[in-house]
Symmetry: D2
Subunit: 358 residues, 4 copies
């Protein structure tokens, strides 16, 4: 891969919180050129640095770039065949479809197409084979690949290694979700200071149906969901980044605790692919009594490019038939922009993307 | 009751966070005199107002009182026959036992005696009949009554009305517990700012065993625990007061949602007793999509003396066999000092306490 | 005053944070009837309880009232001659002027008319005589009285007693302002969690010019500002309510510290008027080394109706010519709705308002 | 310098918050070997990784090292001639003196020796020549160099470039200091959540006397303090790291604003020395209306090794004779461990340290 030229790309919705994480991850990516920054009518013409919301400083490669209109025809003229979509769910659907029709591949963080039968809802370590849902002959159309909801990603990364051992009857998850999951401006400070809000619109529904699909089995052109009951409680707490989840698995099998923990630590399904943003290993098992914590574990993941891409598991308790643990992952990186970047890397490594722009 | 003289009382451990809530609740209580303030070697002689940690100002009745030694013999000389214990778990056990031996009744917030077979672990709306565990003839000994752990109280209040309808196979609870649950100084700010800590020592064990006992059935001198699996995840979040809990009940029966909600709203088992600190009703069912919240619901409870004593239930979802909801209660009031004050009121109303001091 | 009927009144902008504090303060006021709730096109028809943002529960008297259109002619038909304005600065100006023209008296929290030469900018304990700026003959017009900016009020309350002793050359103030000062939704949580924002638009300018005017001297129909340099730094911190200010006065006189402290504790200029919402005393001097604090001192003020109306001064240090101290006041009560309610009480006590509605 | 061997060194008080920042900065330093970790009786034998409090992960070079006793004789035997002291003020004084007597140079963050006439209180960009206070002939004694209090450092970095232009009569500073300034466990969460604490013991006194000394003029073996009145208010806010300060300078000269800003941007006194941890430039002037902010500016400073070492100035307002601005610096890096590391680099570059261990 290293000899091939970097691909031109663009970000749709670059002014938002996820858009800015895309800009951060793509500004010096070995396989993609620094992205064009797509904006809305309200943000076109503004400098990215002036819109910046993240605590980390804006990358020098794109800090002074201005947001621009990125219609499919403009992008086509500029040889851009790959876009990363940080468009808000609801408006993303038809816009993304239009790019795909015009031959541009879309890696999307939006919810709109996640449950389309022919669209892969992808977490590369978990269900890389779902990429094949798109088929090889697409008649000039671009690829459309989605990453799951930010609270789903950590959960399925933690479950993937152990589902075969436990064959769960039910999975219970209660979330402690960070402020950035709501984007910017998002949650008013007066709504959350000294408070917890036990409601995030549509979040529980997304976690439940997306988890069953991602952990499901591809049968030709469709996915058979995992036959497990998923039961979520989603709540917002006053942390900046990192979604923590309390998980209880009701198992139908009784493996030893050692074999469960071994399944997590041995898990490394992308080992041979050498994707730049893939965390190695993808799941970190912490032995301390009080981890994972958002403050300390949100940026877990190595190598350096994979910071914030690992899921961290801890406080494992096995009282059969119930396995309990906490899992944490960075909602805006692993559960957002980074998830789609990794999807694009997988797609390119597997030959689903052009080897050069234009 | 109103014609009887108020009883003298004392607080053990008046300098701590729960001790100060005791002082707040007892400073103008209709059945008890303003309390003597018991202190440790370190705090004896100091003015309560100078040690005050609560956001609410100290009550004028006790603000200028100084902490003092409150050995059983001193209290006996002063005619004090009732003490409220805010001693730390671990040291409380033998100290409380000594008071009881000396004929002084103890209402305790400490964990040490909660699982003693002959000691009532009491939430008056839930298991008032467990008070009879103490027996009527106690040979000059005082009463010993405990209130449960702060995270247990809200849970059992929410469960009591619906357990008969649902006959739960399992109860899953994940907590969002406030800083004050750890007392003062408690959690260092650097440990919790922008963070969640998914561990509170012994908390999950307490919730599980105490809930089964409180919801259990008294058979003569013992309690048969409720035959339900309790599965807790306990975590600390950066709120000041009020413990929120996400609860999933796996039911073996399938009542209608209306009958479940009706069970909550009709629940008022103390209606005839007129206890001053009893909230009426004890469980509030909120219809909003985003309640209960610690900031807004922690002080729920009427009449005025019962502020902070109600449990607030919301976000009820019934997808049989799973009933899901959130419950909130004030950990330091309902789940702490207020719980023991209500226990003492029940004991007095039922004739377990002397009608006058001395 | 107690024999007179209560006056009908209305709130303009009842859905906002200050509007809700107005509703809280006026729902059971001895001199005013529970208010009509004025709303905008967006909020008319909605129930106040459904829009409620404060941590305190909505008052039962108005919780179920719906917001309504409150044009001057409607109010006139209903006999309402007094309105409290929580309209946003910028739009408040012409709207309030129209009410005044139609014979309705306006007590406003908005900035628009504060610097009009004929409009009193009033803090009753400080410059009650500025009320006379309005003149007695107003030809059918209503009164227009403003309260100052939330960060100004605490400062002038602290300065009023000591300005005659110190004759300041300069007053330096740095603020630690709470989230509620920006209203709702106001500051995004991602902008302020783990952060301080050292900028509040126009705030420093308001503090400086309003302080000089309020502490100035009325000469007939105009006010001569206090000839002192005011130098402010305004910053937002992540507290919910209560503005703290660090103040350094550069004095031209050298009184003793005892006389300065005596001036504060003796200050009680409204003693004879018996205004229901007036805190007695208006300035509390705390001796502790670490007070005032927003969490503990924001609700200072007695009697009960005056909670949140007192300014709390502490950490007084006198190193001539510099006097240093901190002052705290509740921005939404004393520095907002409560300020205007007190203004209306003063106006009524001094005969500037009709003695009955209609 | 690059050809010389790295010097062995040790940290005194490695378990604390500043000690851990020392470990972070020294673990891969080009001029110093990874440090020995000195602990107290309570921490000796424990693994650094198990004691870690910072949000950043512990450096791999020292994560598995155990704390050890580091008496002067032990260090001498191991060839360690340089120690970095994170000992608490109060106990640091005699301990540090003993190391110096034994020929070991001490770079200290503690307050005890800061005002000793013969001990440099050093901020290299501001008063590098004060290093000469130590004299060249020290008779086998080690060097003793201190860095100032965390709230002093940012202030003097901001003032140094402009003092010659403004010749201040007085400097007023109000601080917004972060939680980490109090170390770990430091401030209890219940004391600061939803609060500001307007008191930090001895902090105002330190800022005032240290600033005058650092900005003073060396005359032979002594320093003549800057003849300016320093007037501080110090307060704690609920941020994790980074001290913000509101500064007003009362000037006796009237330069243009452009020349003041030019003085800041041109300031780079260490340009020729190539110290590894020196930020270039040391003062960053931000043009935005709402900067500096702790969240966004605490890690300012380049090159990479100098992250958190720059002071960030913004919101500059010049209304003669008053110049107002905000300044932010990272209290634990620039104002703590990083300050002492930079002092040691200066000392080595100027030949005050041995060129090799032992």
């Amino acid at each position: 891969m290293s000899d091939e030229p970097r691909l031109p790309c663009a970000i749709l919705g670059a002014s938002g919180y996820i858009g800015q994480h895309f800009a951060r991850l793509l500004s010096d990516h070995p396989w993609f050129e620094p992205p064009l920054l797509g904006g809305s009518a309200r943000s076109v013409g503004r400098r990215l640095g002036d819109l910046w919301q993240l605590a980390e400083p804006p990358p020098v490669e794109v800090e002074n770039e201005r947001l621009r209109a990125t219609s499919p025809s403009r992008l086509a003229r500029q040889g851009v065949r790959v876009v990363f979509s940080a468009l808000p769910s609801g408006t993303a659907g038809p816009v993304e479809a239009e790019y795909v029709r015009r031959g541009i591949s879309v890696f999307s963080n939006a919810a709109d197409h996640r449950m389309d039968p022919s669209v892969p809802l992808l977490v590369p370590e978990v269900n890389a084979d779902h990429l094949d849902l798109v088929g090889r002959r697409r008649g000039g159309r671009g690829l459309l690949v989605t990453n799951p909801n930010c609270s789903t990603t950590g959960l399925v990364l933690a479950l993937a290694p152990i589902v075969p051992l436990l064959r769960p009857r039910a999975v219970h998850a209660s979330t402690y979700q960070s402020l950035s999951g709501a984007g910017y401006p998002g949650v008013p400070s007066l709504a959350i200071a000294d408070n917890v809000v036990p409601f995030i619109r549509e979040e529980e529904e997304k976690m439940e149906r997306e988890s069953a699909r991602i952990l499901g089995t591809r049968r030709g052109a469709r996915v058979v969901p995992l036959p497990t009951a998923f039961l979520a409680h989603c709540a917002r707490v006053a942390t900046r980044e990192g979604h923590l989840e309390a998980v209880t698995v009701e198992a139908t099998r009784r493996p030893t605790l050692a074999s469960v923990e071994g399944a997590w630590t041995a898990f490394d399904p992308l080992a041979t692919l050498d994707l730049p943003t893939a965390p190695r290993p993808p799941v970190l098992l912490r032995p301390e009594s009080d981890r994972p914590q958002p403050l300390r574990d949100r940026w877990a993941g190595s190598p350096a490019r994979a910071r914030g891409m690992a899921a961290v598991v801890g406080r494992v308790r096995w009282t059969p038939p119930y396995l309990r643990f906490f899992v944490l992952s960075h909602n805006a990186v692993r559960g957002g922009a980074g998830g789609s970047v990794l999807n694009a890397e997988l797609a390119r490594a597997r030959g689903f993307l052009p080897t050069r722009g234009g």
